[in-house]
């Protein structure tokens, strides 16, 4: 999408995200059916209440309020001491009552921010940016339509509706238009997801639709104060799709401006296959949802005591952890980011360090061999037999010189699958490092004696052969010879 001629004007993109995040409560927001994602069994987790039958009434699931307040606190929002639900009215067959119980002018949380951090490469300095959170509010999810003969209602021969999702609790989080690139937006969405997972209030599965992002985007020449025409993009099912869709859209809009074409206020759909956005519908003025206060639900009051209690229950959040890992543990921004991406990994890492493992070494093991093992076996860190205390033990065996790093790598698979003590395994297998000069010298002598021609070549200047001798010594010692000592002694012996 690059134009051949160099651009005279520089543009900037103004991007805001609206994120819908399903809360992982056991039951729905206003009724007691399961919230389980179950597309294969449509209309099984339903009741007269979530189907909006005549005469039924909503009753707020208290967990939803707790989760929404905790999310608001984690996003540095002000929590409203007095808030309420409203009815947002529009007719659509996936909306059982033809109004959605949502929050309009008094949302539960407002005026927050979250910090995104972009680290380009392993050793690069992180770029940090605060993104404003306009508001966070609670609402009910709608059902899901499955269209026959089309991907939309228009043009389908018929449509089936599955109300399993109707009434699943959502928080909608609206950002300020503080984002400037696809990368920033993707990072914002990932950080939001991380926070939800850290709080344990959402499963954040984009593929299943439990985390959904809509993007609002406009471009303008740098220096211009007025915003350009805003376009909404929907249908991104991954973070990379968010990034790609925005980057595509920025280029599309700039090109349109450069070519003197208008930008329409419209909703566009991201198409993963072609990597483009496609116009879905024009926005003709703003929709009139005829909001009014929900008379079936009393206003929500959060007492200072309740707020204090929920605040005290908050865990350390990813950004706080990243800062602490860098400042207190001396890890690089990159390492801190990798380790804190998943709360369970961070907790594993912290437990191993707390058990006495060297910070940097534990970090390397977690991010290296253990991460590779988890990835290839599709496991989570809580599922492996190697407990963090044993990782600490293993690391200590290396730092004390009891075993070499090579031996540690060799025995790791067994520890990961079977567990048990690292020290006992090393002893049982006779893998303790040989650090006795005499013993190593004896092995070196034998190796040199067995390879006279190599020795001669070495002494004639082919010093590269030292590696060959090191390898032979290691092999003969079963990998147990102290590599450092072996090197020193071998150098001396080979010189003759």
């Amino acid at each position: 999408m690059t134009t051949s001629a160099p651009k005279k004007t520089e543009y900037e993109a103004i991007i805001g995200l609206e994120t819908h995040c399903q809360l992982n409560t056991e039951t729905k927001i206003f009724s007691s059916e399961s919230t389980k994602f179950d597309p294969d069994n449509p209309n099984t987790n339903v009741s007269p209440i979530c189907l909006g039958y005549p005469g039924v009434l909503p009753v707020l699931n208290e967990k939803v309020l707790e989760y929404a307040v905790k999310a608001g606190l984690a996003l540095n929002c002000q929590i409203a001491p007095y808030s309420k639900f409203d009815r947002k009215q529009y007719f659509y067959p996936d909306l059982p009552k033809n109004y959605q119980i949502s929050q309009y002018d008094l949302p539960i949380a407002e005026h927050g921010w979250l910090e995104i951090e972009i680290v380009e490469k392993q050793n690069s300095e992180p770029v940090r940016k605060k993104i404003g959170i306009t508001r966070l509010h609670m609402e009910e999810d709608a059902g899901k339509l499955n269209h026959a003969g089309s991907d939309r209602l228009d043009g389908s021969t018929y449509s089936l509706v599955d109300f399993n999702r109707a009434g699943v609790p959502l928080v909608e989080i609206v950002s300020e238009p503080d984002l400037r690139s696809g990368k920033e937006a993707a990072e914002y969405a990932q950080e939001l997801r991380r926070i939800m997972l850290y709080l344990g209030i959402s499963d954040g599965k984009m593929q299943e639709g439990s985390l959904r992002c809509d993007v609002n985007i406009s471009v303008r020449p740098v220096g211009q104060k007025e915003f350009g025409t805003k376009v909404e993009i929907k249908n991104m099912n991954s973070f990379s799709a968010i990034q790609k869709a925005i980057d595509y859209e920025i280029e599309r809009q700039i090109e349109a401006i450069e070519n003197g074409e208008p930008i329409y206020q419209e909703t566009r759909l991201w198409q993963e296959g072609s990597g483009t956005t496609k116009s879905m519908r024009m926005k003709e003025g703003s929709s009139d949802y005829r909001y009014f206060p929900e008379p079936d639900l009393p206003p929500i009051e959060v007492s200072p005591e309740q707020l204090k209690l929920w605040k005290s229950e908050l865990v350390e959040l990813p950004a706080q952890k990243r800062h602490r890992y860098e400042e207190k543990l001396g890890l690089s921004a990159y390492d801190a980011r990798v380790l804190t991406d998943d709360r369970t990994v961070a907790e594993y890492f912290e437990a191993a360090v707390a058990a006495g493992g060297d910070t940097k070494q534990v970090a390397n093991w977690v991010m290296g061999d253990i991460a590779a093992y988890l990835k290839s076996n599709e496991l989570s860190i809580t599922e492996i037999a190697l407990k963090p205390e044993i990782l600490a033990e293993l690391v200590s065996l290396i730092t004390k010189g009891t075993i070499s790093g090579k031996i540690a790598k060799d025995i790791l698979p067994e520890l990961l699958t079977k567990g048990g003590s690292a020290k006992e395994l090393v002893e049982k297998k006779g893998l303790i490092q040989i650090s006795d000069t005499g013993e190593i010298e004896k092995i070196i002598d034998e190796v040199i004696a067995a390879h006279p021609s190599e020795l001669e070549k070495f002494r004639n200047g082919k010093t590269k052969l030292k590696g060959f001798f090191v390898g032979q010594v290691m092999k003969k010692s079963g990998g147990r010879a102290d590599p450092k000592l072996t090197n020193q002694l071998l150098s001396k012996k080979l010189q003759g």
């Binding site: 005549p54 005469g55 005829r290 009014f292």
Partner: protein
């Protein structure tokens, strides 16, 4: 023709003078006899009624104790969901709707072994003041069958007045219990908002709707309220309060109980009030005074703004509440070529004129650009009316005024003039806006022999005082003992 009061029937059951099946059969016989004239019931549930009555008789035969409502024939307004039994709201759109759940009130009555004899007629979705807006039939006033019974709970009021059941349940959004009670010469009560669960009551104006009893005596009304009141976790607007035994407050005068301060709402007397109504209500007030009440005039200057505020708020809520009838999930469906056509043709044919009028009113009032001028302003008026009442109740225990400005009118008289119909609820609406309890009791007849109702209004949760005042008045008069000729 009358079967007696709940207490009398109960005593007869306990003494085995009559069986519950006999009592039920008498009610069913009366229904059969008068329904061709009255048309109070949309459905008569005879088999179920006899089955329930038989169980009560089995219990009595087994020597078990029975509660006051056991074996008592009762009518239920057809906007309260009854599991497995059609609940139509007198609307074509729900003509074949069978709820898979029970409303809280009918569950409570089932638990009390009250005998439901049928579902009573109403103005479609409880929108109306004459029961003429029913999609299925027009109910007649038992005192003059050429006249309306009032509404929207006209079926329940007429059924009780005509002796087709002993008591009945109605719902009251702007006067829908009290006004028909007044026009049919029975007792009708709207409790404090939140006292009775709304779960299973098909919503009209959610912030105003309240279920309450119809009866031929204040005591029967108190007994029925005892059975249906109370906190319900299925209704977030229901009040977490202890429910007293309301029959405890039924005392014959005010002298022995430390007096009663009665306030006459000045603004309710004047233009538009029938002379016979003025006369009867003034006489009733004098009667209260004779019983030991201290009477004074109280001004509620914003009372008259209740009507316009109500006709913004109730239709606004209704426009959302009735949006669910879209042919997708249940109820009537007009097949069409596409979704929008299905919506529009179903709703165009499924709803009656008045319902559509109110949906239009509410949709308009909530629309962008009009919200502040209409809905928001109406809510402000509502607050002012509440303040008027708060000030009044700082001075008096009970407020008094006519229930309806006029007695029952001829069927068809007002159907072409919705505004004159709306005016009939002038006296009852402000009470719903303020969430207060109100009761209508018979206080006389006009020169044509049509009943007149006296409305007593209490402060929030002061049903005790209301029952006391109503009972003392009732016991000192003979009005409630009159019976319609059914001609």
């Amino acid at each position: 023709m009358y079967q007696g009061s709940i207490r009398e029937l109960h005593q007869q059951l306990v003494n085995k003078e009559r069986s519950a099946v006999e009592i039920t059969n008498e009610a069913l016989a009366q229904i059969e006899k008068v329904e061709p004239k009255i048309h109070a019931f949309l459905a008569v549930t005879a088999d179920l009624a006899l089955e329930t009555a038989q169980k009560v008789d089995d219990k009595i035969a087994a020597g078990e104790e029975i509660g006051l409502l056991e074996g008592i024939p009762i009518g239920i307004k057809d906007n309260m969901c009854t599991k497995g039994i059609k609940t139509t709201c007198a609307s074509n759109i729900l003509a074949n709707f069978v709820p898979p759940y029970e409303s809280t009130v009918t569950q409570k009555l089932k638990d009390a072994s009250a005998v439901m004899v049928g579902k009573t007629n109403l103005d479609e979705f409880a929108m109306g003041s004459s029961t003429e807006n029913s999609a299925f039939q027009v109910t007649a006033n038992p005192w003059d069958i050429s006249r309306v019974p009032g509404g929207s709970s006209g079926g329940s009021a007429a059924a009780v007045a005509a002796g087709e059941c002993v008591v009945a349940l109605g719902s009251d959004t702007g006067g829908s219990i009290r006004q028909p009670a007044s026009l049919c010469g029975v007792v009708g009560m709207k409790p404090t908002y939140g006292l009775v669960s709304r779960f299973g009551l098909v919503a009209f104006g959610s912030s105003l709707d309240q279920i309450g009893p119809f009866a031929r005596s204040v005591e029967d009304a108190a007994i029925l309220l005892n059975a249906i009141a109370g906190y319900d976790s299925a209704d977030a607007t229901s009040l977490k309060v202890e429910i007293p035994d309301y029959t405890k407050f039924l005392k014959p005068d005010f002298k022995s109980t430390g007096g009663l301060k009665v306030g006459i709402i000045t603004e309710t007397f004047g233009e538009g009030l029938d002379a016979s109504v003025t006369k009867a209500v003034r006489k009733a007030i004098a009667q209260l005074e004779a019983l030991g009440a201290e009477v004074k005039e109280i001004s509620c200057p914003r009372f008259r703004y209740g009507l316009p505020a109500y006709y913004i708020i109730a239709p606004s809520e209704a426009s959302a509440n009735l949006a669910r009838y879209d042919a997708v999930k249940y109820g009537m469906r007009q097949e069409a070529e596409n979704l929008v056509d299905m919506y529009t043709s179903t709703r165009a044919t499924g709803f009656g004129k008045e319902v559509k009028r109110r949906i239009m009113l509410g949709t308009y009032a909530l629309s962008a650009g009009y919200y502040d001028a209409y809905y928001l302003k109406a809510q402000k008026v509502r607050t002012l009316i509440k303040q008027d009442f708060e000030q009044a109740f700082a001075e008096v225990d009970v407020l008094v005024c006519p229930t309806s400005p006029s007695t029952a009118f001829k069927a068809g008289d007002k159907t072409t003039d919705p505004l004159s119909m709306y005016l009939l609820d002038l006296m009852t609406i402000p009470i719903n806006l303020a969430g207060l309890p109100g009761i209508s009791i018979p206080c006389g007849f006009d020169e044509q022999g049509l009943p007149i109702g006296l409305q007593l209004i209490g402060n929030v949760l002061r049903e005790d005082i209301l029952f006391h005042a109503a009972y003392a008045y009732e016991q000192a008069t003979e009005w409630h003992k009159q019976q319609p000729s059914l001609s």
